[in-house]
C-alpha cells in the first residue's frame, strides 16, 4: 500500500500549460458578476429572500466550518499529505470543544478543541510520514477511530451532568457575537429597498456585520493569513516545496519530515477549529453526528478552489449558501435560483460557442433550456434536490476542469528520506 494515492491526479495530459490562478481581482469580479445576476433574478422573480441579510448571515455561519476544514486540507495537501481524515479530526474538535467548553468557558473550549483536532493530525502524520501508510487508508482509519472514541467518551463525560446525555453535551456558554452598530441597521434598510445590485450588495455586506461570532471573524481572517504564510514567507515556501518535490527540498537542506509533521498537525488543528465552531457557535452543545460529513465537503471545497485559499473560500461560501437556502425553508427562493442557473448555463453556452466548442455549447444550451422549462413549469423545488445541488455542482466543476486544476505535484506520494540518491 505504498503506491501513489492519486487523488485527483488527472489521468489525461493537462490541456493547456497556462496557469489559471484565481487572483484577487478576478475573484472580486466573479463575486460582483454573480451578485449582479442574482440581483436581476431577484427582481424578475420577486424572491427577495435570496439576498436578504439574515440569509447571508446564515450562509456565512454555515460556510465557516466547511471553510476551516478546507483550510485544514489545504495545509496538509500543500505539504504533500492527502487528508481524508479531516472528518475525524472535526469530530474530535466538536467533542473536545464542547467538553472543555461547558466546564471552563467557550474560549478554553476552542483551545482544547483545536488541540483535539491537532492530536488527530499528529496521528495522521505518524501513520503517513513515519510509517508511510497510504494516506487515504490512514485517513479512513482516523475517521473510524475518532467516531468510536467520541462515542465511547460521551457517556462517560456527559451522562449525569445536567443537560447532558450519552449523545449530547451540556450547553456551552455563548462566545458572544457582535453587530457593527449603525452600519448593520443602515445596510438592512438599504437591503429592504429592493434596488438593483445596491440592495443585494447591502445584503451581502449586512450578513458580514450582523450577529457575527468572534470565531467567524477569526476563521475569515485565517484565509488571508494562510495565504500569506504559505505563499509569502520562507516557512511557507519550504512547506510547499515538500508538497511539490520533497527530494529537491531535501537536497536544499529542508527537513521534509518536520515540515510534513507541522503541516498535518496544523491541518488537524484547523479541522478541529471547524468542529469547535459547530459545537460552540453554530449550536451551543456537542451532538453525536454533528459534523455530518462536513470534513469531506471541506476537502471538496478545497479541490473546487484549485488548492488555493481564495478559491477554497469561494467554494465554502457556495456550499454554505446552498445549505442556508435549505435551512431557511425557501423552496420559493430555490425556485428563483433555477432561473439563475438557466441564465448561467446560457452564458456558458455563448462562451463555449465563442471558443468554437460547438458540441459542448449545444449541450450546455439544451440543459439551460431544460432548466428554464423546469423553472417555468413548476412553482417550487423539493428540498432534497437543493441539498444535492452543491455536490452535483462540485462534480460538474471537477469534470469540466479537472485537467486544469493543479494539485501539489507530490501530493499523496510516499516519501522516504534519501530516496532520491
Amino acid at each position: 500500500m505504498t503506491t501513489a494515492t492519486d487523488v485527483n491526479q488527472p489521468t489525461l495530459q493537462p490541456a493547456a500549460p497556462g496557469s489559471r490562478r484565481l487572483s484577487l481581482p478576478v475573484l472580486l469580479l466573479v463575486i460582483a458578476g454573480g451578485l449582479a445576476l442574482t440581483s436581476i433574478v431577484r427582481i424578475i422573480t420577486g424572491a427577495d429572500g435570496i439576498t436578504n441579510v439574515s440569509q447571508m448571515s446564515t450562509a456565512l455561519e454555515l460556510a465557516v466550518p466547511i471553510g476551516l476544514a478546507g483550510l485544514g486540507g489545504l495545509w496538509a495537501e500543500r505539504s504533500g499529505v492527502v487528508n481524508i481524515g479531516l472528518e475525524g479530526m472535526m469530530i474530535l474538535g466538536t467533542w473536545f470543544g464542547a467538553w472543555a467548553g461547558y466546564q471552563w468557558g467557550p474560549w478554553t473550549g476552542i483551545l482544547i478543541g483545536v488541540i483535539g483536532g491537532a492530536i488527530g493530525g499528529l496521528l495522521h502524520a505518524i501513520m503517513t510520514v513515519t510509517f508511510n501508510v497510504n494516506h487515504i487508508v490512514s485517513g479512513v482509519a482516523i475517521n473510524i477511530l475518532a467516531l468510536g472514541a467520541t462515542r465511547y467518551l460521551s457517556p462517560l463525560a456527559f451522562e449525569g451532568v445536567p443537560g447532558g446525555s450519552a449523545k449530547q453535551s451540556p450547553p456551552v456558554e455563548s462566545l458572544g457575537q457582535f453587530t457593527v452598530p449603525g452600519l448593520s441597521d443602515w445596510l438592512s434598510t438599504l437591503n429592504s429597498k429592493g434596488w438593483f445590485f445596491v440592495s443585494d450588495l447591502a445584503g451581502l455586506l449586512g450578513g458580514l456585520v450582523t450577529d457575527v461570532s468572534w470565531l467567524t471573524l477569526i476563521a475569515v481572517a485565517l484565509i488571508p493569513a494562510t495565504w500569506w504564510i504559505l505563499w509569502r514567507s520562507p516557512f511557507g515556501l519550504r512547506l510547499r516545496s515538500c508538497g511539490e518535490n520533497p527530494i529537491a527540498a531535501e537536497s536544499l537542506g529542508v527537513n521534509v519530515y518536520k515540515y510534513k509533521y507541522i503541516a498535518v498537525i496544523i491541518s488537524g488543528g484547523l479541522a478541529g477549529l471547524g468542529g469547535v465552531f459547530l459545537s460552540i457557535v453554530a449550536n451551543p452543545f456537542y451532538l453525536e453526528g454533528q459534523t455530518a460529513g462536513r470534513g469531506y465537503i471541506g476537502l471538496a471545497a478545497m479541490i473546487f478552489g484549485n488548492w488555493m485559499p481564495g478559491g477554497l473560500a469561494l467554494g465554502a461560501v457556495l456550499f454554505g449558501y446552498t445549505d442556508s437556502l435549505n435551512l431557511r425553508g425557501g423552496s420559493e427562493n430555490v425556485h428563483a435560483l433555477l432561473l439563475l442557473g438557466a441564465i448561467l448555463l446560457a452564458i456558458g453556452a455563448i462562451w463555449l460557442a465563442v471558443k468554437k466548442k460547438y458540441v459542448s455549447a449545444v449541450i450546455t444550451l439544451v440543459i439551460g433550456v431544460l432548466v428554464f422549462l423546469w423553472y417555468s413549469m413548476t412553482n417550487e423545488v423539493p428540498s432534497q434536490i437543493v441539498s444535492a445541488t452543491p455536490y452535483v455542482i462540485t462534480l460538474l466543476v471537477l469534470s469540466l476542469s479537472a485537467q486544469r486544476l493543479r494539485m501539489p505535484k507530490a501530493d499523496g506520494l510516499p516519501y522516504r528520506k534519501g530516496q532520491g540518491k
Binding site: 500500500m1 505504498t2 503506491t3 501513489a4 492519486d6 487523488v7 485527483n8 491526479q9 488527472p10 489521468t11 489525461l12 481524508i84 496521528l123 501513520m127 510509517f131 508511510n132 501508510v133 497510504n134 487515504i136 487508508v137 490512514s138 479512513v140 482509519a141 482516523i142 475517521n143 473510524i144 477511530l145 475518532a146 467516531l147 468510536g148 472514541a149 462515542r151 465511547y152 460521551s154 457517556p155 462517560l156 460529513g293 469531506y296 465537503i297 476537502l299 471538496a300 479541490i303 423539493p382 432534497q384 434536490i385 441539498s387 444535492a388 455536490y391 452535483v392 462540485t394 462534480l395 471537477l398 469534470s399 469540466l400 479537472a402 485537467q403
Partner: protein, 374 residues
C-alpha cells in the same frame, strides 16, 4: 524453496497478529484509564459468542460486511479507492425495495430481478465515478464522496410520499415488498434465522477468488494494481480496466444490503443499517483483500458489534467495541506496512550478503527470484 515459503507465511500472519495484540493492549489501556477492569469485557464478549442466538446474529451481520468488504477489495486490488460503497449499497437496497414493492412475479423470477436491480443500481452509481475518472481525470475518491452525499439526497427524495415513500408513523419506508421477493432463511429454532442470502455472500467470495486468481481479467486487474506501467506495457487497456473494476465493485456493493432486505426487513426504512460501506473499507484492509481473510475480519467485526451490547449490563460501555474497531484498523495498517518494509529490508540484506559472498553466479534459482522480487 520450502524455507522461503515458510518465511512468507510468517510475515503474512505476523501483520494481523501484531495488530490484534496491539489493538487489544491499547483497548485495555483505554479501559484502565476510564477506571474499569481491563480484561473482564473480553471474557464477557467471548462468552457471548458461545450462545447460539448471538452466533446467528453475528453470521447475519457478517454477511453484510463481507459483501461490502469484497466490493472495496476489488478496487483495492488495482489501487482504486471506492469510498462510495456506502452510497452504492444504500441506493441499491432502496431501488430493490421499491421494485420489490411494485412488481409481483413468481419467486423464481422475482428474486433474480431484485438482485439485478441492486447490481445495476450499484454499478450505475459507481460507474459515474468510473466514467468521470477515465474521461475527465476526476479522482474516484472525491467523486465517490460526492456521490455518497448525492445518494443521501436521492434516497430522501424517493422517500417522499408522492414519489415511492410510505409513511409508517414517524418512519419513512418504501412499503412492504411482495412475499415472492422474500428469501426464506435457515431456521435455527430458538436461536432465530440465518438469512438465506448468507449463501450469496459465500458464492461471491468464491467467485471473487476464481475471477482474481484463475482468469485473464483477474490477472490484468492485479497487474494494474501492482504496476500500472508494466500492465500497460503488456497490453492492458488501463482505462477499460478502471471502468470495469469500478462497475464490478459497484455491482457487488449493490448486493451488500440484500441479505437483510430480502431476509428480514422487507422494506427500506430509516432503520436500515447505514455506514456498512465505510466499515467495509476497514474490513477489507484487515482481511488483506483476500476472500478468506475478509471472512475472518467480517466475523470479527460482527462479533464486536453483536457481543458488545451485553457489556452495558455489566457496567461497561458497549462503545468500547467501536474504539476497538478503530484501533484494530489503525494497528493493522501500520503493522502491515512495518512488516512489509521489514521483510523487504531483510530480503535485501540477504541478497546483499549472498552477492558479497560471490554466490551470485553459481546461485540457485531461489536467489534470482528474490532479486526479481525486489
Amino acid at each position: 524453496m520450502k524455507k522461503f515459503d515458510k518465511e512468507r507465511l510468517l510475515l503474512g500472519v505476523a501483520g494481523p497478529v501484531i495488530a490484534l495484540v496491539v489493538a487489544v493492549a491499547l483497548t485495555s489501556v483505554v479501559l484502565l484509564a476510564s477506571g474499569q477492569n481491563p480484561f473482564e469485557p473480553y471474557t464477557l464478549m467471548f462468552q457471548q459468542a458461545t450462545y447460539s442466538d448471538i452466533q446467528v446474529l453475528i453470521i447475519n451481520q457478517a454477511s453484510l460486511y463481507y459483501i461490502a468488504a469484497l466490493a472495496v477489495a476489488i478496487g483495492f486490488r488495482m489501487n482504486l479507492f471506492n469510498i462510495g460503497v456506502d452510497g452504492q449499497y444504500q441506493l441499491a437496497a432502496m431501488m430493490a425495495a421499491i421494485v420489490g414493492a411494485h412488481v409481483a412475479l413468481p419467486a423464481a423470477l422475482q428474486v433474480p430481478l431484485l438482485m439485478v436491480t441492486a447490481i445495476c443500481t450499484g454499478a450505475l452509481w459507481a460507474g459515474i465515478a468510473g466514467v468521470l475518472k477515465v474521461t475527465r481525470g476526476v479522482s474516484e475518491v472525491v467523486a465517490t464522496i460526492m456521490l455518497n452525499a448525492i445518494a443521501v439526497s436521492v434516497i430522501s427524495y424517493l422517500w417522499l410520499p408522492d414519489v415511492f415513500g410510505v409513511k409508517l408513523g414517524n418512519n419513512n419506508t418504501t412499503g412492504e415488498m411482495h412475499k415472492s421477493g422474500w428469501v426464506p432463511g435457515f431456521d435455527m429454532g430458538e436461536s432465530g434465522e440465518i438469512y438465506g442470502l448468507v449463501i450469496l455472500a459465500a458464492v461471491l467470495g468464491i467467485g471473487y477468488w476464481i475471477v482474481l486468481n484463475r482468469t485473464r481479467f483477474g490477472f490484468d486487474l492485479r497487474a494494474s494494481g501492482a504496476s500500472e506501467s508494466a500492465a500497460a506495457a503488456s497490453g492492458v487497456n488501463s482505462k477499460r480496466m478502471v471502468l470495469t473494476a469500478m462497475l464490478l465493485s459497484g455491482g457487488i456493493a449493490g448486493l451488500a444490503g440484500l441479505p437483510i432486505l430480502l431476509g428480514d426487513t422487507h422494506t427500506y426504512s430509516l432503520n436500515f443499517p447505514t455506514g456498512i460501506g465505510f466499515l467495509g473499507i476497514g474490513i477489507a484492509l484487515l482481511g488483506r483483500n483476500s476472500p478468506v481473510g475478509i471472512a475472518f475480519a467480517a466475523l470479527l467485526w460482527a462479533w464486536l458489534d453483536k457481543a458488545s451490547p451485553e457489556l452495558d449490563f455489566h457496567g461497561y460501555d458497549k462503545e468500547i467495541a467501536v474504539i476497538m474497531q478503530g484501533l484494530i484498523v489503525i494497528a493493522v495498517v501500520v503493522s502491515y506496512e512495518a512488516v512489509r518494509e521489514w521483510g523487504l529490508r531483510r530480503q535485501q540484506r540477504r541478497v546483499g550478503a549472498e552477492l558479497a559472498a560471490g554466490n551470485v553466479l553459481g546461485g540457485s534459482n531461489n536467489t534470482e527470484k528474490e532479486v526479481a522480487g525486489r
